[in-house]
Symmetry: C2
């Protein structure tokens, strides 16, 4: 299990957006330590876009120590190392570490501080390491839910799902069909005196081939191009004629 | 230049949060196509956490064609391939592609659709490829600003900044100092008859060493541990005595 622990979160909007981000990436165990406005929270529900109804009930704790008690490894998100001797991870390496531990049946979690004050040093001292999210040093403050999102996003990348939709593009046409198209195009261009001199003709032909080669044309697209040439050359056939 | 283009965005909150996310990751060129509530937008400003004041002015366009006119390569974010023959990227591979083009002095951009309807097929047809963000298939809908955030995050990862804070942990102590600590610990434990039998003593000593070896102890921490042993053994020396 991969738990997300929000310590002393203030705004319900952020709790809701964090829940939505969690479920977007398949995370469902949300724990709150002393949320400022209590729980349940209407603004959280409104901002979760339905996620809180799908996820198991959020658990509320009085202290961070209690919230992480059953976990084997917790990493703390913070933008400062605070002179504590801890391994420092970025989101990607953090998720690698956590994933490795999960395969050893460890219960893992990531701890996030409240919007204003972040985490206390005593809370960070509970954690195995620190996660530092790379940001623009001149504008570094990430929204709480955004930080949760980035961890969730890195997490789903370890789960083998790298795009939401399959790359179900049709395959490119076989080279012989492309060659037939090139030859027809060249023949038609020759007929229009497109190629002026022998010297430039070879280069021009190569350039034309390169344009269409790069495009990784499918069979359907080749048919369209044949149709275009026919149309441009004005030798469209009426239906039923030969 | 790396541009973010939001086509027909609806909620000012999302535009503002997108601007904040952009600046968090060092992106500053935001273009809006026909924002529903006009521009400037108070809710956008409120949600940008100051980003809009730092970034160059947002540019507004009537159509997506105009908004991307000066760019060399635009990728479209969408969760469906829509039966168009396009390369499909995930955020990571998209950013690799864009980064490569930027090094060739191309102007690059990512196009995002509005909250409700996403992008029109005609808008996607303008783009070189599609970016599909991996999400939980049962809860796939990402907030607009969150999608912008993920692209910005992948972008900053290509800029060589992998953690916001340096790993400035002190180095571990040299092995001779650790060895001295182990030997003192073993001597003290021997004196308390901690090691019962010869058979188990070697294993026990190895286990104790492993505990402390794994911790990658620094010089300062070794000093603390020496102090703890002294304290526990009751042989603290008063200042000035030998």
């Amino acid at each position: 299990m991969f738990s997300i622990i929000l310590s002393h979160p203030q705004m319900g909007e952020n709790i809701g957006a964090a829940a939505r981000a969690m479920l977007n990436f398949g995370l469902t165990d949300l724990r709150l330590v002393a949320p400022r406005d209590g729980w349940p929270n209407e603004r959280a529900i409104a901002n979760a876009a339905g996620a809180l109804e799908i996820m198991p009930p959020v658990r509320i704790f009085d202290s961070t120590v209690e919230a992480v008690a059953d976990l084997h490894c917790v990493l703390a998100t913070t933008s400062r190392t605070r002179d504590m001797v801890k391994p420092v991870f970025n989101p990607e390496s953090a998720v690698e570490e956590l994933h490795q531990r999960l395969t050893q049946d460890q219960k893992i979690g990531v701890l996030f501080g409240g919007e204003r004050a972040g985490l206390l040093n005593d809370e960070i001292a509970l954690c195995h390491g620190i996660i530092s999210i790379p940001t623009n040093p001149d504008f570094a403050s990430l929204n709480l839910a955004q930080s949760v999102l980035l961890l969730g996003y890195e997490w789903i990348k370890t789960q083998g799902t790298l795009t939401a939709c399959d790359d179900n593009n049709p395959p490119p046409a076989p080279l012989e069909d492309k060659e037939a198209f090139f030859q027809r195009l060249e023949t038609e261009l020759d007929a229009t005196h497109f190629f002026r001199s022998e010297g430039s003709e070879a280069i021009m032909k190569r350039n034309v081939r390169n344009i269409f080669s790069r495009a990784d044309l499918t069979q359907g697209e080749l048919n369209i191009l044949h149709g275009i040439i026919s149309a441009l050359r004005g030798n469209k056939k009426k239906p039923g004629t030969k």
